[in-house]
Structures are given as structure tokens and as C-alpha cells.
């Protein structure tokens, strides 16, 4: 459930009517979450609430987007909501994996919150295993999109203009029967479930995903966030867009501590 930070402020901070909601899927390489970190950090979004749930593994830490001593002591938990009213943007950042058997209840809670908060549309940032690509997918761009029918009506044309590639469907029974096609997003976590549920519930949802593998996924996060930027135009896209995104301070030491000098 959504719990606003500021109780006294009334519904002002939790009024997301007409906003675009960014949600990452906990997926291969955590690319969606890294991309969301970049968006929140670069646009300096304000924390407006917590998503209090029993579906995610608990964790706490100090402010991951700290820029100075003063703002580094704000406690952060595993699922928090940030907003930027000037761009009508709200982001839910998820920082830990799902507890066993809890991903379905989480999807339901999330989608019912989307409906009750009256967000205009949801953009799900995700990724899929690169090794599952077929021959055609190995060539060209590793970025894909998906739109629910309700959002297709609104922005389908824009996707054509941007020359984006829609996520291909795969054969339901490969090798046996190639006519029946289904959506398959290996490594995408709850992506497929959220997408299919949104289709049936009439929610305007777009999925933006990148094919990648586990490893140093920072370049993948930059690629995904630039892809998002082509559509939403969150920051001015210049020639070298990578340098426009601000890496949060919590990305330090992603690959471990310093080495003991005695090692050499």
C-alpha cells in the first residue's frame, strides 16, 4: 500500500492524476531499477511516499541519492515513490527481490494502486535474457517496446515515427507448431504478468526493455534510459547523452571493496 511521507500535507503529494508512472521490473541485470535510479537522481525527484508491502525482502539504508552531508541521512526502504510534478512524472523504485510466492499479490496491489491514484499511464522498465534471442533479434537494436491496447491508440503512431521495434512474439510450441504465437519475456520477472494484467484491466501501460546479460549493467541502464528519453524527452538529448545522466552516489563500490595492499 502507498503510505505518503508527509501526513499533514493532505492529498497534495499523493495526487498523481494524469501523471506518468515509471516502474522498474526486478529483472535480469536489474537494468530497470538502475535506469529508474538514473531518472530519479538526474531529475532530483522528491520522495513522496513508501510502498509498504510484505511482498519484497526488507532492506534499509541511508539516502542513495545523497549529494552532500546534509541530505545523506534520510533513511530509505525497499520500495519508495518519488515525484516530479513539473514533468507530471512519478517513479516507484523497488530495491529488493520478491519473497517466494508473493509476486502475484504484488502485481495486484500495484495495479490497484495505479487505478486508485489515477495515473494516466505506466511505463515498465525491464530487461530480458540476451541469450534467448533468435537469429533475427541478434542483429540490430537490443531495445524493444510493448503497448497495451489502450495505450496503442494514444501513442502507437509515435512509436512508428521513432522507428522503435516491438517485442516479437515467439511460437508457443517451437518446432512443433509455429502458427500459435505467445509473448515470452525470459528473465523479465513480473513484466509479462503486469503487461497481460494491464491489457485485461484497461490500464495504459508501455513496457520498455533491453536484451542483456548479468554483469556490469551500467551501460545497459544508460541505453534503456536514453531509449525512454527518446519518447518522454525528460532531458535535452544532445549528441553525447550518456554524460547528461547523473549517477547516484549509491552506485559506488558496485563490484566490491578496495583491495588489501598485502595482496601485492
Amino acid at each position: 500500500m502507498f503510505v505518503p511521507c508527509d501526513r499533514g500535507g493532505g492529498s497534495a503529494s499523493s495526487d498523481f492524476k494524469g501523471f506518468t508512472l515509471l516502474v522498474p521490473a526486478v529483472s535480469v541485470g536489474n537494468v530497470g531499477q538502475l535506469a529508474t535510479d538514473l531518472v530519479i537522481s538526474t531529475l532530483d525527484m522528491t520522495k513522496v511516499g513508501y510502498f509498504y508491502t510484505d511482498c519484497l525482502v526488507p532492506m534499509v539504508g541511508n539516502n542513495p541519492y545523497a549529494t552532500a552531508e546534509e541530505n545523506s541521512v534520510e533513511l530509505s526502504i525497499n520500495a519508495e515513490v518519488y515525484s516530479l510534478p513539473s514533468k507530471k512524472l512519478v517513479a516507484l523504485q523497488i530495491r529488493s527481490p520478491f519473497i517466494k510466492n508473493k509476486y502475484r499479490p504484488f502485481c495486484q496491489t500495484l495495479l490497484s494502486w495505479v487505478k486508485s491514484s489515477k495515473c494516466a499511464r505506466v511505463i515498465l522498465l525491464s530487461s530480458s535474457h540476451a541469450y534467448q534471442r533468435d537469429d533475427e533479434q541478434l542483429l540490430g537494436t537490443p531495445l524493444r517496446y510493448l503497448l497495451t491496447p489502450d495505450l496503442e491508440k494514444a501513442v502507437g503512431g509515435l512509436m512508428q515515427e521513432l522507428n522503435w521495434k516491438e517485442m516479437e512474439k515467439v511460437a508457443a510450441y517451437p518446432g512443433i507448431n509455429d502458427t500459435e504465437k505467445v509473448l515470452h519475456i525470459p528473465g523479465g520477472g513480473i513484466t509479462k504478468l503486469l503487461f497481460t494484467e494491464s491489457c485485461s484491466k484497461g490500464i495504459q501501460m508501455a513496457v520498455l526493455l533491453k536484451f542483456c546479460s548479468e554483469g556490469d549493467n551500467i551501460p545497459d541502464a544508460f541505453a534503456l534510459v536514453n531509449y525512454l528519453n527518446e519518447w518522454l524527452q525528460l532531458i535535452k538529448s544532445e549528441v553525447n547523452t550518456s554524460s547528461q545522466w547523473k549517477t547516484p552516489s549509491s552506485w559506488r563500490l558496485l563490484f566490491g571493496n578496495g583491495l588489501p595492499p598485502a595482496l601485492f
Partner: protein, 245 residues
């Protein structure tokens, strides 16, 4: 995987939580893990000033809680004590591992029985120093050392430096602190990073700076008692480790 929280209220009879009147609580001290539990046993708890008021029964792949209330810090148990002279001071020693699917249950069942107005929570726990992320190597760090995390509402002095990013806290200590942050309860977590896995006095004594904090200052018992208990802990522990003699 169900957790049972049984409270022994004034009437003496054990009752299930929830239905009854919520406990008024001003101070709630939670010690998670063997070292933190041993610290409270040595420096705060005794059978004269504190009474057992509750117990948590649970089972998971790592442990099963013991059935008695006469426990050693090396056992797996989760007990609640109340200060007889001030029944709003509650203390919990939780030396059993609460699995990730049980942590939420623990929170709801324990905090569900408490009135949260005027509540302040202090959490003590330990964690391996190898988990500590820092620019230098962990080999050169003077462990054990204390780091703290506090919720927005906690305005008092903290007895040690705050835990810097990119370090995080997991498991039950994180669950309790998250709960306090979301529901605006002032709370502080003291995490001791140690390189010793078994119960040892050096790690237990690393929590000593907390004894001068506002919350614990009034609850500390006689120093000579503490050294006696610490010594006892050492000996009970070592009988298991004579395999290499």
C-alpha cells in the same frame, strides 16, 4: 511458517495477541542475534527488575525456537521482557533467525499489540564485517565497530557514526526499521560489524557505548554483575569448541 506470539499478561494466563487491549509502550529495545542478546543479558537484564511477558514460537530451515524461558544467549529463542518498575519499557531478545517470509508477520504481530504513541524503538544487531563496503579493504578495518541508522523522527544523539552509502541492512533489523520509518516512529538501529561468528566478549563489549545513551542509561545494572555474566558466557561457549585441543 506461521509465527505465534504469546503474551503473558498481568492475569498470569497466556493469551494470544491482538484481541486484547494493546500494551502501552514508551521504549522498545530489540536485540537481534546472539551477540546483541548476550549484551542485554550481561548489562541490562536480570531476574529481579525484569519479567518475561511474551514469547515468539517459530520454525524455519535455520532454527526452531526453544520452549523454555530459561535460555542461554547461544540458544534460539525470542522473548519479551517488561521492566517491573515501569511497565511501558519493553525489551526483546531475538536470537533465532526470522526468515524473510516470516519477518512481516513478526512485525505485524509484535507491533500490532502495542500502542504506538510516544513509542521509541532501539534495535541492536550484528553483521559480518566482510559485508561492509568501503574504499579500503576490510582487512585493515579495526573491527568490531558500530554503525547506526535512524528514522526521520529520531531526534536524539546517536552513539556512533551513521552507516554510509552504499551499505545496507537486511533481515529483521531492516524490517523493524522500515516499519518505524513508514509509520513515523522514532527508531535507531545500532549495527555491529564483527569478524567473529561465535559468541565472544569483544563483540559484545563493542555495544558498550550504548550504555551512555539516554535510553539505556537508566537501565544499566551493576558493573560487577556484568563481568561475572560475561565470564560465564565465555565458559559455556568454550565447552563446544574443544575439538582442536
Amino acid at each position: 511458517r506461521e509465527i505465534d506470539v504469546l503474551w503473558t499478561l498481568k492475569s498470569g494466563a497466556s493469551t494470544e495477541s491482538s484481541a486484547d487491549e494493546p500494551l502501552g509502550c514508551s521504549t522498545f529495545i530489540v536485540a537481534i542475534g546472539h551477540h546483541a542478546a548476550a549484551f542485554l543479558s550481561s548489562f541490562i537484564l536480570d531476574s529481579v527488575c525484569w519479567e518475561v511477558v511474551g514469547v515468539v514460537k517459530l520454525w524455519n530451515e535455520w532454527c526452531r525456537t526453544s520452549n523454555t524461558t530459561n535460555v542461554l544467549p547461544t540458544d534460539s529463542f525470542c522473548l519479551f521482557y517488561r521492566l517491573i518498575s515501569d511497565p511501558t519499557v519493553l525489551l526483546c531478545q531475538c536470537s533465532c533467525y526470522v526468515a524473510e517470509d516470516q519477518q512481516f508477520q513478526w512485525l505485524e504481530k509484535v507491533f500490532g499489540c502495542m500502542r504506538k504513541e510516544g513509542l521509541q524503538v532501539t534495535i541492536l544487531s550484528t553483521c559480518p564485517v566482510a559485508d561492509y563496503k568501503t574504499q579500503e579493504s576490510t582487512l585493515t578495518l579495526p573491527s568490531p565497530f558500530l554503525k547506526a541508522l535512524k528514522t526521520k523522527e529520531f531526534k536524539e544523539q546517536v552513539c556512533c557514526p551513521l552507516l554510509e552509502q552504499p551499505n545496507i541492512v537486511r533481515d529483521l533489523p531492516a524490517a523493524v526499521l522500515s516499519y518505524c520509518q513508514v509509520w513515523q516512529i522514532p527508531a535507531v538501529l545500532y549495527q555491529c560489524y564483527t569478524d567473529v561468528i561465535k559468541l565472544d566478549t569483544v563483540t559484545i563489549e563493542a555495544f558498550k557505548p550504548l550504555l551512555s545513551s539516554k535510553i539505556l542509561k537508566s537501565l544499566v545494572k551493576d558493573a560487577s554483575e556484568s563481568t561475572k555474566i560475561l565470564k560465564k558466557l565465555l565458559t559455556t561457549n568454550e565447552t563446544h569448541s574443544n575439538i582442536y585441543i
